[in-house]
Amino acid sequence: MNRILLMILQRFGLGLLTLFVVSIIIFVGVEFLPGDIAEALLGQGASPENVAALRHELGLDRPAHIRYIDWWAGVLQGDLGTSLANRRDIAELITFRLSNTLFLALTAAAISVPLAILFGILAALYRNSAYDRSVNVITLGAVSAPEFLTAYVLILYFSVKLGWFPSLSNIDQDTSFIDKLHQVALPAITLMGVILAYMMRMVRASIINLLASAYIEMAHLKGMPKFRVIVKHALPNAWAPIANIIAISLAYLVVGVVVVEVVFIYPGLGQLMVDSVSNRDIPVVQACSMIFAGTYILLNLTADIVSICTNPRLLHPK
């Protein structure tokens, strides 16, 4: 057991290192983008003196490495700084949006993960049956439509025509939980369409892959019922890939939902980050990417732990 603890600590350390490297990449990346925030904010017709004055006011006339070090100094003291674009406190700016992003991601995941695993197991069990094929067609159809298209069609039917759900997610700090669920219904369904097929198919593939193993054959020969074979023998060995798949999907739900945010006017982190990249608002981009990267690292770490704990061979390498 200590080995696992040691490994977790080691991974955690590596995670911090990753965060550090990500912060450098993002900082350098934003620096490399054409133009800076002064030009981005002033737009067409900005005079050079104008741009210079704004740069000075925002402290952008200092060398890049000094600004980077300053940023870290702030972060280590728990201060994420202020947005260069609207000079608001970043922590405040982000808290509200992060909670929205997490709420949407968790809602979508809470529905789609159990469904994906169940559908995947059933599809593996009854592979090539009518059930397998129809689930396949439906989920593939859902995943192959661009998110914005799914979103528009959902809005057309459930919002414009039937009026069941709002087309806008008008969420406040004091929106109640039930109300929030009602508001995120359409965005959550849109996201489910994207990840459900992926997770389901990977679960199905992982299990089918295992079904060819000798020990499964053995279980069959013992006369064990099909479903029990899968749950008792195949599933435990499939946890590693499944955990990976879920981690990737969850990371996607937190990080990759910009388009859904735009269409449903959902005040999440993605839109903030895209806008901040185009504004060259480095502190906000940095803060968002740290959160995204942190989420991803944590999810991955969890997936790795699950992989190792469920595979005795990995747990006790020779």
């Binding site: 054409p34 981005a40 104008n50 004055a53 609207n86 735009v262 006017i265 901040s276």
Partner: protein
């Protein structure tokens, strides 16, 4: 006392109406006139009452709007405003010195009245007394001076620095703010209608640009950049009748065209700006939805740098102008919402606009000019991006096909959206661009068509244009001035380096629940940015 004031109002009203009904009186005369009379907002209200009667505005209610042109990086700093969302919000919770009325005349706001010296060099603005900011602070002349100075001086970060560069001094004289100009400018009050110019509270002579305290008819209750803003009626406003109709507003930032349109159709919002023109023919037929469109002076320009071959050749430029499909541009790029342009920047909204000046679509003549230029079969690069205006890429392809008919090959370069205004516009020899509407002719000509201007994106160096623009600025005789501006229009259209196939139209869409009146102000979309105050919930 009371009686005499009413009499005075009626008297002034009669004179004003006579003045207005006289077709020879231009806006300029009207301006000088009202300014000199010390016309107040109360009288202004009486003046526009005809329109109000016709449309019966209603007070009260809660209006929800969905606007695009917003960004999570938006701030309350008016010096950095460049998009509709913030312009509309600021017009609702802050005030200016002067407003552009719905009939495009100058209306007094925090300046109760103004008068000019005979040479139009010194302007005295009498500041309204007894006005309080939302945080309880009283409005002082110092606040006004600080708000003007925000846009002046070496280290000003304001986008509107250029607009205010003609001001040489600002000082306080009792309840009056005195503005001195380097050169006479009969249009000086128009400077203070600029959307960058908000009156903000000041501290030690510095305007507090990020303060949510304004003097406007609405209080800024909630402000979440790029998401939403909530406005509530200011019970303690100086505006007569509250200065606004709806009791409260919720303004959502909806950047996606389809989402904005769906929100309107499903009734989630009452008003949207810029409905997608692609679907507008069908939006018109949706029950309960109205389209509100106003001709604008926004110009879709395509500047050629006149110091680069082959654009340095006037015959070549003429050939391109003659083979540019103007009507098709309006039909296919603007979906009918535009007015034909004539390759000069002063739109049909200006008094001096010469409607007889046309550029025909004539391929034979174009071929003739091309032959004369000696550039037959040449290949030109056109830098384009939808950042310059929506549909610019489509327009580039449309032009490409038509110019090919006279033997000019066009290589369309899709430029990155980011940094377009820094790396492409005013740099590349030929690009797509737009110029927003300005309230007066001089503002656009001085910025982009004087040889000395840094934003002279066509590198036009025409002595006659320079001479006319400067002379017109100080010219107080309206007829002479109009003639000057018309001559400028002819010169730029014929010799200039820009192709302006059309002027734009500002389009908004509302539900039946919203009243807009029968006249809508220009200068910017959404009733000059004043719609939150002027439109009502029926």
């Amino acid at each position: 006392m009371k009686k005499s004031k009413i009499e005075q109002i009626i008297h002034q009203d009669i004179i004003l109406k006579q003045a207005l009904s006289d077709p020879r009186v231009t806006r300029r005369d009207f301006l000088a006139f009202t300014g000199a009379m010390g016309m107040t907002a109360t009288m202004g209200g009486a003046l526009w009452s005809n329109r109000a009667l016709a449309a019966t505005p209603k007070r009260g209610g809660h209006m929800v709007s969905g606007l695009n042109d917003a960004n999570t990086g938006d701030s309350l700093d008016c010096g950095l405003f460049n998009a509709t969302y913030m312009i509309c919000i600021s017009r609702a919770f802050r005030d200016s010195l002067v407003n552009v009325g719905q009939d495009n005349s100058m209306e007094p706001a925090l300046a109760e009245s103004w008068e000019a010296s005979p040479d139009a060099k010194v302007w005295r603005f009498n500041i309204r007394q007894g006005v309080e900011f939302h945080n309880g602070k009283s409005l002082t002349t110092d606040d006004v001076v600080a708000s003007i100075n925000k846009h002046r001086g070496e280290d000003s970060t304001s986008y509107a620095k250029g607009v205010f560069s003609g001001i040489s001094d600002v000082r306080v004289d009792g309840n009056t703010v005195v503005v001195e100009l380097a050169d006479g400018n009969a249009d000086a009050p128009a400077l203070f209608t600029d959307y960058h110019f908000n009156i903000m509270p000041s501290k030690d002579g510095v305007a507090e640009s990020l303060s949510s305290a304004g003097t406007g008819p609405y209080l800024l209750k909630e402000y979440n950049p790029g998401v939403k803003t909530v406005l509530e009626r200011n019970p303690n406003t100086w505006h007569p009748d509250g200065g606004a109709l709806a009791d409260s507003h919720e303004v959502l930032a909806i950047l996606d065209d389809t989402a904005r349109q769906s929100a309107l159709i499903s009734g989630s919002v009452d008003v949207i700006n810029r409905p997608a023109l692609k679907g507008i023919a069908r939006l018109k037929n949706v029950k309960g939805v109205n389209i509100v469109d106003v001709a604008s002076n926004l110009a879709f320009t395509h500047p050629m740098r006149m110091d680069v071959t082959p654009f340095d050749n006037m015959d070549f430029r003429t050939a391109l102008k003659l083979s540019t499909p103007r009507q098709e541009f309006i039909d296919k790029v603007l979906f009918g919402y535009g007015a034909i342009g004539n390759d000069q920047p002063l739109g049909p909204g200006f008094g001096s606009y010469d409607a007889d000046l046309n550029v025909e679509y004539d391929l034979d003549k174009a071929k003739h000019h091309l032959k004369k230029s000696g550039h037959e079969g040449v290949t030109i690069d056109l830098s384009a991006s939808n950042t310059s205006y929506g549909g610019a890429m489509d327009a580039a392809q449309l032009f490409q096909q038509h110019w090919a008919k006279i033997g000019v090959n066009t290589n369309i370069i899709q430029e990155p959206q980011d940094g377009y205004w820094n790396n492409v516009w005013n740099v590349k020899p030929f690009c797509t661009c737009y110029w927003g509407a300005r309230p007066v002719e001089d503002m656009i000509l001085s910025i982009a068509y004087l040889s000395s201007s840094p934003w002279n994106d066509t590198v036009i160096k025409n002595d006659r244009v320079d001479e006319l623009v400067v002379a017109a600025r100080g010219e107080l005789d309206a007829a002479k001035r109009k003639a000057m501006y018309q001559e400028v229009q002819h010169i730029i259209s014929k010799e200039g380096g820009t192709i302006i196939p059309a002027f734009g139209t500002d389009v908004a869409a509302t539900r039946d629940t919203v009243g807009v009146g029968d006249q809508i102000g220009g200068g910017w979309e959404m009733d000059g940015g004043h719609y939150l105050k002027r439109w009502w919930k029926a």
